[in-house]
C-alpha cells in the first residue's frame, strides 16, 4: 500500500509542476474568452450602491434647477474605459436636473475626448452651450490653474475652449470662482486630483467629491474619512453604481457583468496557482 502511494505521488506533483510552468499566453487566452463570451448577453448581476457614491448622487440630486456645478474631467484614451462611463452618468444626472455645468480638462491628452463627451450628453438633453454648460478647456500646470480659478475663472481662462470671452457667455454672468459653484466633482485619472484636494478644498474650502480610476481608489479613502471630500466614486464599479442610481443602464453596468465573471476566473487562477506553488514546494522539501 505504501509503495503504491509513493508511485502515485510523483505523477500528481508532476501535474502541479507543469501548471507552474504553464505558458502565460494560455492565461491571456482564457481571460480573453471569458471577457468575450458574457458580452453576448446582458446578465444584469446585482450592483450594490455604496455610501460614498450615494452621497455624491444625493448631493447633486438635492440641488435646485439652475444651480452651477463644476465637473472638471481629466482622463485620456488610456483611462477613458473606466472614467468615460462615469462622466456620462454624472453629466446625465446634472443635465436631467437642469443644473448648469462648468467643465475643464487639465489633462492634455484628453481635451478633445472630453469636449466631445460633453457635447454629446448635452445634445441628448437639448442643452445649449453658454447657457446650460461651458467648457473652459485646457491650461498647463494644473496646480496653478486650480489656484487661479479659486480667485476668478477669468484669470487662467480669459476665454473658453472655443475662444469666447467668458463674460460673453450668459451662464458665466455672476459666476466668478468656486464659491459660485454648489460643488465640484472632479473626474480624474491622474495625480492631478491631489491639486483639487489641496487647493480647491484645502485652500478655498470648496465642497469636493472625486471620481477616480480603480488603481487610485484605495489612496483616496483617507480623504473621505477625514471629510476633505464628501464622496468617492471608484472606477467602473463606481460608474455602474451611479448608473443604477440615475436608473440609466449603460456602458458601466454592462461591463460590470463581464468584469464579475473575469474576476471570478482570476481568483480561480490565483487559488490554483497557490495550490500549485505549495504542492511543488512540498515536493522540493521532500527531495
Amino acid at each position: 500500500m505504501k509503495s503504491k502511494n509513493s508511485i502515485q505521488s510523483p505523477s500528481k506533483v508532476g501535474f502541479w509542476e507543469k501548471l507552474m510552468k504553464i505558458d502565460r499566453r494560455w492565461i491571456y487566452l482564457a481571460i480573453g474568452i471569458v471577457v468575450f463570451i458574457p458580452m453576448l448577453v446582458y446578465l444584469g448581476f446585482p450592483i450594490r450602491v455604496t455610501k460614498e457614491v450615494r452621497s455624491v448622487y444625493e448631493r447633486i440630486d438635492s440641488l435646485p434647477p439652475g444651480t452651477v456645478v463644476m465637473v472638471p474631467m481629466e482622463y485620456d484614451p488610456a483611462t477613458m474605459a473606466e472614467l468615460q462611463p462615469l462622466a456620462y452618468a454624472v453629466l446625465r444626472h446634472c443635465f436631467s436636473k437642469d443644473l448648469k455645468v462648468i467643465t475643464t480638462s487639465l489633462q492634455i491628452e484628453g481635451v478633445t475626448i472630453i469636449k466631445e463627451d460633453l457635447e454629446m450628453i448635452a445634445a441628448e438633453y437639448g442643452k445649449k452651450y453658454g447657457i446650460d454648460y461651458v467648457f473652459l478647456g485646457y491650461k498647463p500646470y494644473p496646480g496653478i490653474v486650480i489656484l487661479n480659478m479659486g480667485e476668478n475663472f477669468r484669470k487662467p481662462f480669459p476665454r473658453d475652449y472655443y475662444g469666447n470671452e467668458l463674460d460673453s457667455l450668459p451662464m458665466m454672468k455672476g459666476v466668478y470662482n468656486y464659491s459660485s459653484c454648489a460643488l465640484i466633482l472632479n473626474i480624474n485619472a491622474t495625480s492631478g486630483v491631489d491639486y483639487w484636494i489641496n487647493y480647491a478644498n484645502g485652500r478655498y474650502k470648496a465642497p469636493l467629491a472625486i471620481g477616480v480610476t480603480g488603481v487610485m481608489v484605495s489612496d483616496y479613502y483617507t480623504f473621505l474619512s477625514s471629510g476633505q471630500i464628501f464622496g468617492l466614486i471608484g472606477g467602473l464599479k463606481g460608474a455602474a453604481e451611479y448608473e443604477k442610481l440615475i436608473n440609466h443602464v449603460d456602458l458601466a453596468c454592462r461591463a460590470m457583468d463581464v468584469q464579475s465573471i473575469a474576476h471570478s476566473v482570476i481568483v480561480l487562477f490565483i487559488v490554483i496557482g497557490n495550490i500549485a506553488f505549495f504542492a511543488t514546494k512540498k515536493r522540493k522539501k521532500s527531495i
Binding site: 481571460i31 458580452m39 473606466e82 485646457y138 489641496n198 484645502g202 474619512s225 464599479k237 473575469a262
Partner: protein, 208 residues
C-alpha cells in the same frame, strides 16, 4: 455608422489588434502601433500647448495688447532652453530657482494642512464609542500607530515594539492587497472596453 466612421473605426480596430498582438510576442505590428501612439500624442500636445499657452501668454499680451510685463516670464522661459548648451546651461538655474521657489511657497503650507494636519485630526478626533463605528475607529488608530512603528528605526524592534511592528506590516500588506485588487479591476475594465469596441465594429461591419 457612415462609411467614414467605418473606415476610422477600422483603423482603430486594426491598431487595437496590433497592440494586443504583443500578448503573443513582440512583433513589428506592435512596435508600429506603439510608436504611432507616442508620435501622435507628442504632436497633439505640442500644438495644443502652442494654442493654449504660447498664444495666450506670449503672443497676444506682448505683441497685440502691449502688456510688456509679460516679457519677464517669457524671457525666463527662453532661459530654460539654455540647458541644451554646455556653455550656457548655468543660465537655466535662474528660472528653475524661480520655479522651485514659487512651487514650494505655494504648496508647502497647503500640503502640510491636507496630508498631515487634516489626516491627523481625522485619526484622533473621532470619539470612541461602544458600537461598530467605535470599533472601526479603534482599528484605524491601532493600524495607523502600528504602521508608523514599522517605519520607526530609531529603536530596536523588540518586545511590544516588535509585536506592533509585525502588526504594522500586516496592515501595510492589506493596503497593498486592496490596491492590487483595484488595479486588476481597472486593467480588466480596459480590456472589456476594447473588446466592446471590437464587437461593435464587427457588428457594424457585417450589419448584425
Amino acid at each position: 455608422m457612415t462609411t467614414g466612421q467605418l473606415i476610422l473605426n477600422g483603423i482603430a480596430a486594426f491598431l487595437t489588434l496590433c497592440i494586443f498582438s504583443f500578448l503573443y510576442k513582440d512583433n513589428p505590428f506592435y512596435k508600429f502601433a506603439e510608436r504611432l501612439v507616442a508620435g501622435v500624442a507628442t504632436g497633439y500636445w505640442t500644438i495644443l500647448l502652442y494654442h493654449t499657452n504660447f498664444t495666450d501668454k506670449v503672443i497676444e499680451p506682448i505683441f497685440i495688447n502691449g502688456q510688456y510685463h509679460y516679457i519677464i516670464p517669457a524671457v525666463l522661459g527662453i532661459m530654460m532652453w539654455t540647458r541644451f548648451s554646455r556653455k550656457w546651461s548655468w543660465i537655466s538655474r535662474y528660472p528653475i530657482a524661480f520655479y522651485i521657489g514659487i512651487g514650494s511657497g505655494v504648496s508647502i503650507t497647503v500640503y502640510l494642512y491636507t496630508y498631515l494636519f487634516k489626516q491627523l485630526q481625522a485619526t484622533i478626533s473621532t470619539p470612541l464609542t461602544l458600537d461598530l463605528a467605535g470599533l472601526n475607529v479603534l482599528i484605524i488608530v491601532i493600524a495607523v500607530l502600528s504602521a508608523l512603528i514599522y517605519f520607526f528605526f530609531s529603536s530596536a524592534h523588540k518586545g511590544i515594539f516588535n509585536v506592533a511592528s509585525r502588526f504594522g506590516i500586516y496592515v501595510i500588506m492589506i493596503g497593498f492587497g486592496a490596491g492590487f485588487g483595484l488595479t486588476v479591476m481597472g486593467r480588466v475594465a480596459l480590456l472589456v472596453q476594447r473588446i466592446i469596441f471590437l464587437r461593435d465594429y464587427i457588428v457594424a461591419l457585417f450589419g448584425g
